[in-house]
């Protein structure tokens, strides 16, 4: 079984990528950022990836790290995240892929806070979607545009 981006050839749903500070800048550098892109391109189609600027090792932190999510400084966290939010909006992407839990929570919350339409998604969700093995209950972070795409065992839906 191999991933492919056939499902998105006609749909042309756009994705941008958050480079987690912890995985990229603080651990494995641009090499792992390239690996991440190899996977994302294979799964959603290279033409459907829109990059933020700056990115990779030079990215801006989203504001989900360092304990900020639990610190109680919610206003400060939203102000911190403005830079990331504006980067995401500038891409016009429908989805932001977040490879870290803290990033995921913060970027998801930034959309909610600003009333933005983009969704925030884990890469594992997209890999399984592209393999046709993503069930109806494993789609919490997909938007309406992808809720019904290639559903695995649709009869098990709880919704």
């Amino acid at each position: 079984m191999k991933v492919n981006s056939e499902w998105n050839r006609e749909r042309k749903i756009k994705f941008t990528i958050q480079d987690p500070c912890q995985i990229v800048r603080k651990s494995y550098g641009d090499a792992v950022a390239e690996d991440l892109r190899f996977v994302v391109r294979s799964v959603v189609g290279a033409e459907n990836v829109i990059e933020m600027t700056p990115n990779k090792s030079n990215n801006y932190c989203c504001g989900g790290g360092g304990g900020f999510l639990q610190s109680g400084f919610t206003q400060g966290r939203h102000d911190y995240g403005r830079l990331k939010f504006e980067q995401i909006i500038a891409t016009g992407a429908d989805y932001c892929i977040a490879g870290c839990h803290n990033c995921h929570a913060q970027i998801h919350d930034l959309a909610h806070h600003h009333g933005a339409a983009y969704n925030t998604v884990h890469i594992w969700t997209l890999i399984c979607l592209s393999l046709g093995i993503l069930g109806p209950n494993e789609r919490a972070y997909l938007g309406d545009d992808l809720k019904d795409v290639d559903v695995f065992h649709p009869e098990t839906s709880l919704y």
Binding site: G66, F68, Q70, G81, C100, W124, C128, I133
Partner: protein
Amino acid sequence: MGETSIAIKGKKRSSFKDKVKSIIPGGGNLDLCLTCGACASGCPASGLENMDPRKFLRMCAMGLDEEVTTTPWVWMCTMCQRCIYVCPMQIDIPQLVYNARAAWPRDARPKGIRDSCDMAMRNDSGSAMGTAPDDFVFVVEDVLAEYQEAQPEFKDMVAPIDKPGAHFFLNQNSREPNTEPDELVPLWKILHLAGVDWTYGSRGWAAENYCMFLADDDCWKHVIKVSAEQADQLGCKVFLNTE
């Protein structure tokens, strides 16, 4: 010409900055700032609490210890290290921030972070949500059985706990087992299809470590030690941090 040099008299008092310098391996280049501002211009925390990384470093250099160890800004810098990355002198501002956090009395540090650390200290899970090992094991086994039945193509899928000799020791953010267990499954599927030999640990399974964010070194060490020891005892080769 010699007359123009300025001699500072008296014994230099040891400052917060000097203390941090002595802790960081290599010293963190804390005295090498060129005041170029590259750090501050690309820091998302610039302007919060009327602070930015260059200003914070300058205040440390000037010995304004009281100010730098009390400003709430240190809880708004995420220690993302972008400032180091762009700094021509590779100055370790995040280490100053970490140690400034540690200078706060424990019970004055942000409650949410402290509670998450205290939860992790309650049992051997290390979970910021306080989930006990038994509860984690129950959720994993329950969700696995449900999916093996509902999606027969995955009837042989596994989610092992404490499997001796597994190659990968995988940890898990507490959010999935606690609040959205279906989100555990896609990763299990990928590992299954890729034929990966992996295991969770009943001890130290939780990926997050809020004791680190709290700058509580003893608790931080305890949480990571439980996890590392479990991986070692099982004989795992690779510790795979999913956080």
